[in-house]
């Protein structure tokens, strides 16, 4: 493995929250990055700057503020198209979050394409956001959901996957690029290739991959890709849905209203050009613009470097806790196959209790089912603890985490 080359101490200066004190005098150690990341000053400034200098409703107005706002808003679309290597900005739709992006596919594409007895194929690692929309859809249509299983290390069996895909009546494959619990990186390129051989489109839930490693939609050749700004230094309230142009052309609208129309008459409407047809109502202008600043920030670092740094820190963390008495670490042990997410349980300390104890030391980790109860059932646990890393996390922070873990073991006498 290459040495990580991020200048983490410089990066940390861009994140004011990292100076925050918890429980009086403990410096915050933020290890819940899979839930949401912190925001650097340029992102916060982009929001303030917008509201202090050129806030206005976009697309339709002639005056200068609106021209400036429209320009900046559309610039973010260009940045994102480039970031994931889309063919065109037409393929980039702004939503509220990754969840709404997946729902958009379900309401628009799937509702017109999936019929009775047809199938949507998921996996056991999916986040609720990539399960519930398909339950709603398949229940409404009398269609079927199928889940490809994982092995005890958290890997997919690609041969089994193939069997699922090759059965009749599969209309859509939807899979997470990276598990938010196990960290497993899924072989999406292979999956997509298999699915395309049967002309089945594939949705990639990129909520955990796009923020943490280079993702190239032309290279993996996915049909849909969903992700959230807030998990990659951007503000809350912005998600992205990428859709391949050929498919997007055929999709009926989802949210009806202002901005997504070309001409409205009493009983019929001509919809707007792509991608606006899918963006009804006043968009989240400020936050989309600020998301552009987040993309700039990540580009300056380089997504390869982001990935390297996370592998380095993750490796350090796994090695440090690996041999503790009573510990179970979920997911692949080889950091080449996993992201910077470490889920575990230790003895009979319930994850919520562990998180409370950690918080007393200023350490923010997540505990619970991580919106992945199907996976929890598969792992046969009610909950896990999870530490997840990003560009500003250091090995010293991992050490602090381990000290707090020792303290928890002392309290629980483990």
């Amino acid at each position: 493995m290459q040495k990580a080359t991020l200048n983490v101490s410089r990066i940390r200066q861009d994140f004011p929250i990292l100076k925050r004190k918890i429980k009086g005098n403990k410096t915050l150690v933020y290890l819940d990055n899979a839930a949401t990341t912190q925001k650097p000053i340029p992102v916060i400034n982009a929001i303030c700057n917008y509201y202090m200098n050129y806030n206005s409703n976009i697309h339709r107005a002639v005056y200068q503020l609106a021209e400036e706002a429209t320009l900046e808003y559309e610039k973010t679309r260009e940045k994102i198209a480039k970031f994931i290597n889309a063919h065109s900005t037409d393929e980039i739709i702004f939503t509220r979050n990754a969840t709404e992006a997946i729902n958009l596919v379900s309401y628009s594409w799937a509702r017109t394409n999936v019929e009775k007895d047809e199938k949507v194929v998921l996996t056991e690692i999916e986040h609720h956001s990539n399960i519930v929309p398909w339950q709603i859809l398949t229940q409404e249509k009398g269609a079927k959901l199928e889940y490809v299983g994982i092995d005890d290390k958290g890997y997919l069996n690609i041969e089994e996957y193939k069997k699922y895909i090759q059965r009749d009546k599969v209309k859509l494959v939807s899979v997470s690029h990276m598990s938010n619990v196990l960290g497993t990186i899924m072989p999406v390129k292979e999956i997509i290739k298999m699915a395309h051989q049967k002309s089945i489109p594939v949705l990639i839930d990129g909520a955990q991959s796009v923020p943490h490693m280079p993702v190239d939609v032309r290279d993996i050749d996915c049909d849909f890709l969903a992700f959230s700004a807030h998990k990659m230094l951007g503000p809350t309230g912005v998600g992205v849905l990428y859709v391949k142009r050929e498919i997007l052309n055929e999709m009926p609208p989802f949210i009806g209203g202002g901005d997504m129309i070309r001409e409205v008459h009493k009983y019929d409407t001509r919809y707007n050009d792509l991608p606006y047809k899918f963006e009804g109502g006043t968009p989240n202008i400020a936050d989309v613009i600020a998301f552009g600043a987040a993309i700039d920030y990540l580009n300056k670092i380089g997504m390869d470097k982001v990935r390297e740094h996370e592998m380095d820190v993750t490796n350090y963390a796994i090695n440090a806790i690996h041999d503790l008495k009573g510990i179970i670490i979920y997911g692949p042990s080889d950091v080449n196959n996993r992201g910077g997410v470490v889920s575990f349980n230790i003895g009979d300390i319930h994850p919520h209790d562990l998180a409370t104890i950690m918080n007393d030391h200023g350490i923010a980790i997540r505990s619970g089912h991580h919106c992945a109860q199907v996976l929890m059932e598969r792992l046969d646990v009610a909950a896990t603890s999870r530490a997840s890393f990003y560009i500003y996390n250091t090995k010293e922070e991992v050490d602090a985490f381990i000290n707090a873990l020792d303290e928890a073991r002392r309290l629980f006498r483990i």
Partner: protein
Amino acid sequence: MSDDIYREIILDHYRNPRNKGKLSNADVSIHDNNPLCGDEIDIHLKVEEDKIKDIKFEGRGCAISQASASMLTEMIMGKSLNTVKDLTKEDILENIGLINLGPARIKCALLSLKVLKLGMIKYYADKDPPSAMKLSDDTKLY
């Protein structure tokens, strides 16, 4: 601080819960979970002459939710339903000796009380409660 929370007695109830299990001849059984963290509690009640004749609970979750449930069963065993229905959130927190829980963990401590209240509502759903007894259908504790 966590030293105050994870005292000997809490860990003891967590690891050796009292009145844990099923109740074959229960008059009412009720289940609920905390949607935010997934903790689960089932309470089974045997009622006689408007008193709690027997109580058992099942559940899984954190030390706080499970110890709190265990301690609750001890507290109300044999008590009249009229007393039980008036139990407040403060009674529970005092009973388990945790009065400074933050808003997230307080839900764990009060889950069993919520389930108990749901159980009372269910128990009286097809009977009239004793005339003196006013049953609130508000189960919001936090």
